[in-house]
Symmetry: C2
Subunit: 266 residues, 2 copies
């Protein structure tokens, strides 16, 4: 009798949780309490800006996007791969979850290339080229939870700063080629809301037709549009479903409880 392959959950931690040690500890305890294969992905919240301020390193922003100069890249390596990643791993370990922290350089897990200079030179920003699914599957098979920070490398000795949402979606789509994968984006809201001021107006599921209608009705707007576009792109590349939810609801999401978060499907 063949058994269905167990789903892998790829979980992106919300930036607001990264910024709050108590919330982060509570979130990680919840993640650790759930069984099954999972991968955690995180960025750095506000800590890089705070450290840059203290050190007098001016953060160049163009159209609201950070330019990663050499000094800023070093700060991101310190904060993402050092401080935050190791705190997350140590906290997961304390909760009985055998985690291992990874940048893209570690085990060549995420190969990237420096973003070509166009109208804007983003500096040391990396676009993902290849995910080392062999290594990730080996770790998962050994019962280990990989924890990816948003640092990659180009295999020529250069570290690169890569968006954490992108890491989550590229890891999920790469793994989805051979097994069922669900992608979970945590953020400060309960999910996609019909009325942004009413937490009880959660829309629990969206397929492409419904998305088209929500767009036409102006219910999905602003910052939610790229989130949903990226989610549907991941689904088009083979991810089973993408859930957008609040960090507080992670146990329910991982246990497939209904009525939590917004789940996007084909």
């Amino acid at each position: 009798m063949s058994k269905d392959l167990e789903k892998i959950y790829v979980i992106k931690i919300g930036g607001n949780v990264i910024n709050d040690p108590e919330k982060l500890a509570a979130f990680l305890a919840k993640v650790a309490s759930t069984k099954g294969r999972k991968i955690v992905v995180h960025g750095g919240g506000k800590l890089v800006n705070q450290l840059a301020d203290k050190l007098g390193i001016v953060q160049q922003m163009v159209n609201g996007r950070r330019i990663t100069d050499t000094e800023t890249l070093e700060l991101t390596a310190m904060i993402y791969a050092g401080l935050i990643n190791k705190k997350i791993v140590a906290t997961l370990q304390a909760n009985g979850c055998n985690a291992i922290g990874l940048s893209g350089a570690d085990g060549n897990s995420i190969l990237a290339q420096k973003r070509p200079v166009g109208e804007i030179d983003f500096g040391w920003v990396g676009d993902v080229k290849e995910i080392n699914t062999l290594l990730i599957n080996q770790l998962l098979s050994a019962g280990i939870t990989p924890v990816f920070c948003s640092i990659t490398h180009n295999a020529q000795g250069q570290l690169l700063n890569t968006n954490a949402d992108t890491i989550a979606s590229t890891v999920a789509t790469a793994l989805a080629a051979t097994q069922p994968v669900r992608l979970v984006y945590c953020f400060e809201k309960k999910g996609v809301l019909a009325d942004i001021n009413d937490d009880n107006s959660l829309i629990t599921s969206i397929n492409p037709e419904k998305y088209t209608q929500l767009l036409a009705d102006g219910i999905v707007a602003d910052g939610m549009i790229p989130k949903l576009e990226n989610a549907f792109a991941a689904i088009a590349k083979g991810v089973q479903a993408v859930t957008i939810c609040n960090d507080n609801d992670i146990v329910e999401i991982l246990e497939n409880a209904p009525d939590y978060g917004t789940t996007l499907t084909k």
Copy 2:
């Protein structure tokens, strides 16, 4: 026909090399060029002090030893586990060596306990309790080179600062229980010198009898004594040999060329 188990080399990088990006790159290219199973261990050189100075975090020292308060622990996590560890891993990858960076929290690779408060309270300093040889052997078998920074954890969510020389020796002795291990400490000199001002006066091998004589003759003195005591302690615990050498000579050491470094044996 049985085949002897291939030796594992545990290599502690010299602090002077960590401080110098060009020397570090050259050293890592050499390490990567040699075949065989190896583990790299590093501390942080002067970078923690430099960052502490910039941030106005006063480093408390007692009898020349650093006290690791909470702010300093965060700096060590940033510098050791973040910036330096990821630069080393990316550079090894660029030279064709599949490295993976680890703190003791990662995969629960090094479990430590906070040093009990005696006459001095060293703060968040960890004494090693247990090495996860299963994980290390799995990585080595997969052709991966573990790169340990000098951060450990207590399995209760607390990161701890642990001396890199101690990490190197405890990893080496733990692995030596089941296979041949050599421990290599790199530093600024060619090895133990009969005349500290003459680089040509290298003593290439020392056993316990010779060590007693060198001590009596005053040839081994000062900072070299704890280095050699620790080395003989590792040998007593099963490490085949310990070599103290200059970072420049690492290829010759790993290829067992004679007349490089000082090798200590039973």
